[in-house]
């Protein structure tokens, strides 16, 4: 109790410096929490979308092999839809869903945040591949549609779309017929159109960029994917599991960057507190000499300095976590309001808060060690003579 009282008195005695230190360390921790929550959000949204999709295998152009995602595929190339007739003959393949994706350039110049991906699909796509995408308004794509659009919730919000609106792509006018419910996945940023209409607008009749496939026996999906990739070298077939693994590899890199970032935050925090504490004990040599003369143990002085350091860093940790949380909310608001990217929302969870607090504790303990050791070993008589 005396320890806490003494430490608190000393901190409030150098109030301005304590506050500056807390702000400095707090910012470092807030940034760490924010970055951690952003990668957490990315991870969760991935689990919400790609990992949840009703496809066992996806096919992309060979060029997109390293990143088998529909947006990447839209950039690098395409393959003819006749291929699907042959692929459906492969043993274990149950059904294929032809998809043509395109990225509209200068979609809405006055709304730079609106960056949709055009997704040309057949009507079966909704119940079979993305059964989790419910309708908020209007209807899904139906057989016989040519130039219609069903918009994901995010892009619909940013571009302010509602049924009856029309959008023009490559000179063709598409009518909005439906708006989807928010799913917290990447699907929220898509504009779905009938396959034929989109192919025609982009002058790629009969061309596909992305094909989800369902198989009969999921345990043999790996073999089936290999067989497809081997037999048709212009495409790359990958299992859902392989895609998840690839994403996990990617997240591994992000995680490593996070660890690096946390280490930098740790270092900044330690330097901040170390410099304040060295100054603080330097000013109190005589007082500490007096406390020792009165009979306070050396170990108690050590604990006192560590306590001051820990209190500073813990306050900074709590404030940093809260600010990081608020920053995350702000980022979530901005990207959903202006970019419609619901799937990139940062996620703050207990683990991230804990990381912030643990960093704070480690910072406080490490930064306190040296000043505590130096001052507690000071000779009493010399400390008393100190001016």
């Amino acid at each position: 109790m005396l320890l806490i009282k003494l430490a608190a008195r000393n901190l409030s005695r150098r109030r301005a410096r304590s506050i500056l230190t807390i702000i400095g360390v707090g910012i470092a921790i807030a940034f760490t929490v924010t970055i951690l929550s952003m990668s957490e959000g990315l991870m969760v949204s991935f689990e919400n979308s790609i990992a949840k999709q009703g496809a066992d295998i996806v096919i992309v152009p060979k060029e997109a092999e390293a990143y088998p995602y529909p947006d990447v595929a839209a950039f690098v190339g395409s393959f003819p839809e006749e291929l699907l007739d042959e692929i459906e003959q492969v043993d274990n393949v149950k059904i294929t869903f032809p998809v043509f994706t395109a990225i509209p350039m200068d979609f809405m110049p006055e709304k730079p945040g609106a960056m949709p991906l055009l997704y040309g699909v057949t009507p079966e796509y909704f119940p079979e591949v993305v059964p989790y995408l419910g309708l908020a308004e209007g209807r899904y794509i139906e057989a016989g549609d040519e130039f219609t659009i069903v918009a994901g919730s995010g892009i619909a919000k940013v571009a302010e779309l509602s049924p009856g609106d029309s959008l023009e792509f490559r000179g063709k006018s598409f009518e909005v017929v439906g708006i989807l419910e928010s799913s917290g996945s990447m699907d929220d940023g898509m504009l779905y159109t009938p396959l034929k209409g989109l192919q025609e607008a982009y002058s790629k009749p009969g061309q596909l960029t992305f094909v989800p496939i369902k198989v009969n026996d999921i345990s043999r999906a790996e073999e089936t994917a290999e067989e497809i990739s081997d037999r048709w070298p212009i495409v790359s077939a990958q299992t859902q599991k392989a895609m998840v693994d690839k994403f996990s590899d990617l997240m591994g890199i992000v995680e490593a960057a996070n660890v690096g970032l946390s280490a930098v935050a740790l270092l900044i925090g330690i330097l901040f507190i170390l410099s304040t504490m060295i100054m603080a004990v330097g000013e109190r040599v005589k007082e500490i000499g007096t406390m020792r003369a009165i009979g306070m143990h050396r170990s108690y002085i050590f604990q006192l300095v560590i306590t001051e350091s820990l209190i500073t860093s813990l306050i900074a940790g709590v404030i940093g976590c809260l600010c990081g949380y608020l920053l995350s909310l702000g980022i979530t608001y901005i990207i959903s309001e202006f970019f419609g990217l619901t799937y990139f929302a940062p996620m703050v969870n207990a683990r991230i808060f804990l990381t912030g607090i643990v960093i704070a504790i480690v910072v406080g303990a490490l930064a306190g060690l040296y000043p505590a050791w130096r001052i507690s070993k000071t000779n009493i008589v010399q400390a008393l003579r100190y001016e």
Partner: protein, 228 residues
Amino acid sequence: MNKIIIETENLSKVFTIGGQDIKALNGVDLKVAGGEFISIIGPSGSGKTTLLNLIGLLEQPSSGTVSFEGQDVSKLRESELDDLRLKQIGFIFQTFNLMATFTALENVTFPMEITHVPEKERLDRAKALLDRLGLAERMHHKPKELSAGESQRVAIARALANEPILLLADEPTGNLDSNTTKEISELLQRLNNEYGIAVILVTHDNQVARAASRTLRMVDGRLDSDSG
């Protein structure tokens, strides 16, 4: 005569500065009985503070021994020395050395907090002490709001908090004007009489030294006794 509480034998302290040995103390033999009031006078640099620091268990001699109540203190561990200072010895400094963030009252309760005296008793004792020393009105003031004489009286109250048997005062009036000097030396005399606490008072003021029953003169690290 009361029993001996402090005894030094052939006490020496050598400081080495830049390869040069300085004999701050050169074979001091001193016996202090319980309840005794000793003053030590002598020119600056003669070793008075060094002697007080050794008696106060703040540092170790180069040779010779200090015994506290018959116990050779060189045999004690550091934490045992801390405890002896805490409970048996009170220090009074020339520069008062009060804790700047504490009120007068908190400065006095502080040593009792270290010895875990219960809060109620701590406060009662501190208030009684401050009252005795004429500081009843000053209890809740911080050191910077106190005059020099008041500060030194708070420091004396702090030194008495854990009811020590020995009070060590190193030039306690060095920073005080003549009136306050008189007041503090009378106070020390009174405490010595009333509490029976032994006092060793270092001063270069002959007037102040007269408060003691025995005055010793320190020259070049040696003691000559004037009287007693």
